[in-house]
């Protein structure tokens, strides 16, 4: 426990140092990519708890992200509307003002997403495999449709004018928190129980693990961090609409996991970084050869090749650690 807290504190300190460096020394375009990577890492690492560790197939991560994004933005934004009818419903002053209002707003967003995770998790986690995937997919769609029909949050136009609070330090502080928690969880009784459920649910139940409760807890945990990621996303992009959180967003996060290796924490991080950087890195190439759509085709091709030659993902279920590096590098100690 003490060690985990130490790692957490060190992680946050490194994040703030990293943030200072990125803000001052990195060109804005690459700084934005670094920030986007941070949001993707939180999404992938939190989904890894549900899809990787527990072995449940959730396709609703964008729904939780949307809840976190909308709720936190609702608290930090001076809501201005084109439609005077709507202006009646909303506060003209942000409820949580200033950068220091950002942390509580994010927290409320995360908690709202966690609550949604609880409400959705209890009935749906009785389902298995494809059925769970379909139910969570349905949940994501419901969130998007509800947001489209709520005039109070701008309907299909979405929210604009969200303050730009999420800088590198903030994002990577949460990345550090998310990773530290996941590390701790993987090695705790809770994490071991989740892995037992993944490997054989019946055997886990026989061993005295309350599988239904464990699965719901994993779901709520994943939803909470997805909500945080959504809040960071909203305050990074300064504008959100229901279309940002559609089915494709959920799929993107699942693909990050599958690419990195389902069940591997470092795999989730590496997958998130690759899939965020790749489309941007290919941008110049696409412009050079003047073939529109080439970037997306190449991106798909890389995924297909990956699935053919390494279906378990880059890391499989292994973790990248100094020990593994030593084993792989030539001349290293065994």
């Amino acid at each position: 426990m003490l060690k985990t807290l130490g790692i957490l504190a060190a992680g946050i300190a490194v994040a703030f140092g990293f943030g200072l460096l990125v803000d001052n020394a990195v060109p804005p375009f690459w700084a934005l990519i670094v920030n986007l990577c941070g949001v993707s890492i939180i999404l992938a690492v939190s989904l890894n708890v549900i899809n990787g560790l527990t072995g449940q197939f959730s396709l609703g991560h964008a729904g939780f992200m949307a809840i976190g994004a909308y709720v936190s933005a609702y608290f930090t934004t001076t809501l201005r509307y084109f439609d005077p009818e709507v202006a009646k419903y909303v506060s003209q002053q942000p409820l949580f003002d200033g950068v220091w209002g950002f942390a509580p707003a994010l927290l409320v967003g995360g908690l709202a997403a966690a609550l949604a995770g609880l409400l959705v998790g209890i009935p749906t986690l009785r389902l298995k495999g494809d059925y769970l995937a379909i139910a969570t997919l349905g949940f994501g769609e419901i969130v998007a449709i509800l947001l489209t029909n709520f005039k109070q949050v701008g309907g299909s136009k979405g929210l604009t004018g969200i303050p730009s609070y999420a800088d590198t330090s903030w994002i990577y502080a949460f990345v550090a928190i998310c990773i530290a928690f996941s590390l701790f969880f993987q090695r705790s009784t809770f994490g071991r129980a989740l892995i037992a459920i993944r490997e054989n649910e019946l055997a886990a139940e026989v061993m005295g693990i309350r599988t239904a409760r464990m699965k719901v807890m994993a779901f709520v945990y994943g939803a909470f961090f997805a909500g945080l990621a959504g809040g960071l996303y909203a305050h990074l992009f300064q504008t959100i609409n229901p279309g940002n959180f559609n089915f494709m967003k959920s799929v993107e996060v699942v693909v990050m996991l599958v690419l990195g290796g389902l069940g591997s924490l470092t795999g989730a991080i590496v997958g998130a970084i690759i899939l965020t950087v790749l489309p941007e890195a290919l941008r110049d190439l696409e412009r050079e050869i003047a073939l529109p759509g080439f970037r997306m085709a190449l991106y798909a091709l890389i995924l297909i090749l990956m699935m053919i030659f390494r279906p378990q993902g880059i890391f499989g279920q292994r973790e990248l650690s100094l020990k593994l590096l030593r084993r792989i590098l030539p001349g290293g100690r065994k």
Binding site: A10, V14, G17, F18, L21, V22, A25, V26, P27, P28, F29, W30, L32, I33, L36, R80, F82, I145, T148, N149, G155, S156, K157, G158, T160, G161, S164, F237, Q238, T239, N241, G243, N244, P279, E280, R283, E286, R287, P292, G293, R295, M296, L322
Partner: protein, 386 residues
């Protein structure tokens, strides 16, 4: 401890690596060329819109460069795909602003993508001109954000004026897609204006996104016997709705907005839309020599008739050109001021001013469907709608 140290070292190494790249944005031109950015979605869901826009833009750039460029400099078009995703709107905008250092930028079609990109251009003081984002909040992002298309409130109002004054209708019905902000927005503005002109909206029916059966709504509307039916929807729904009206022997004209424009509209609706009207950004059959020249050049280059989005893409380049020429200098601040004061710009989508909200004040072309043709009826000017 060793791990933490390693992390800090990695951070330092990264910082040193990136520090070499520098972070000041460029002037936006060199001795020979002026850099102009474009970000539209040429892949993903709305790829057809982005591709049409890009075709129009490229045609205009080619013409301008052939004629000697802008103030003696050739245009270097730097175009990025935004893959129909708002995230990519922001990354493309940041890249255009900070890596490529464009002088002015153009884009996007979808309002969601324009909204994600606009704060970046605003932050770096680079003028951004959107060819076709209709959401009012786009230009509210800041004083460097412009647009050259009309807004949905004007479009809905203009259709009401047309229904009341040209079609002499006293009773109108509305059929809207309740899940689409474009559709409900147009419907609301139509209703308000039509009532203000002394008309009566006898029925307002809604359907859900993806619906294919309109029997109930059509029967309800038929019972109220309106003289015109306003259908502010996209062409695929419009074709099905028109067929249902004709199947139930409702023969009054239908009326709609720019969502109707598509070369697939007539093939899928058949004769059901004969004699109906819709408002559009321009008419392909306009007698204006400027429009004729554009339509011919576009056909020669791409083999099809240019859509409104292509026409707006073509105009946006000329708007940027006029802005730079009026400024007399390749200075972003001066160009912004010139764009903000742009008056009587003469483009293929009509003659227009940029107003104090940095939006275009321009006419709408009302078209009548005659066989396979979209025949121009008349233009409705902004003054008529206010």
């Amino acid at each position: 401890m060793r791990k933490a140290l390693a992390l800090v070292l990695v951070c330092l190494a990264l910082a040193v690596f990136f520090a070499g790249c520098g972070s000041k944005i460029g002037p936006g031109y060199d001795e020979k060329e002026v850099y102009i950015g474009l970000f539209v979605s040429t892949s993903g869901e709305i790829a057809t819109f982005g591709t049409d826009t890009k075709n129009g833009v490229e045609l205009a750039v080619e013409e301008i460069n052939k004629a000697g460029g802008i103030n003696g400099k050739q245009i270097k078009l730097i175009a990025y795909d935004t893959a129909s995703k708002a995230d990519e709107g922001k990354t493309a905008a940041t890249k255009l602003a900070t890596q490529d250092g464009v002088l002015v930028s153009m884009g996007a079609v979808a309002s969601g993508i324009s909204l994600a990109a606009a704060p970046e251009f605003q932050k770096y003081g680079i003028p951004m001109v959107s060819p076709s984002s209709t959401n009012p909040t786009v230009t509210q992002v800041g004083d460097h954000i412009f647009r050259i298309c009309y807004l949905d409130d004007f479009q809905g109002g203009a259709c009401a004026v047309f229904a009341s004054k040209d079609l002499k209708a006293k009773k109108a019905a509305i059929l809207q897609n309740q899940d689409d902000a474009y559709s409900t927005g147009l419907a609301d503005f139509f209703e308000a204006k039509f009532k203000a002109l002394g008309g009566e909206v006898v029925a307002k029916e809604s359907y859900k996104k993806g619906a294919s059966d309109f029997k109930t709504q059509v029967t309800n509307i038929k019972g109220k016997s309106p003289e015109v039916i306003f259908v502010p929807c996209y062409y695929n729904d419009v074709a099905l709705i028109a067929k249902e009206f004709r199947a139930q022997d409702v023969t009054v004209p239908l009326l709609g907005g720019d969502g109707w424009e598509s070369d697939k509209l007539i093939p899928s609706a058949g004769s059901a839309l004969e004699g109906s009207y819709f408002g559009n950004h321009y008419s392909q059959e306009d007698d204006n020599p400027k429009v004729k020249k554009f339509v011919e050049a576009y056909k020669a280059k791409y083999g099809n008739v240019p859509s409104s989005l292509a026409a707006l893409g073509y105009d946006v380049v000329y708007v940027v050109k006029e802005g730079i020429e009026k400024a007399g200098d390749f200075d972003r601040k001066k160009i912004r001021d010139a764009l903000a004061g742009l008056k009587a710009f003469d483009g293929v989508t009509g003659k227009f001013d940029i107003d104090e909200n940095r939006d275009a004040r321009k006419p709408i072309s009302m078209l009548k469907i005659e066989g396979e043709r979209f025949a121009p009826v008349r233009q409705i000017k902004p003054e008529e709608v206010q």
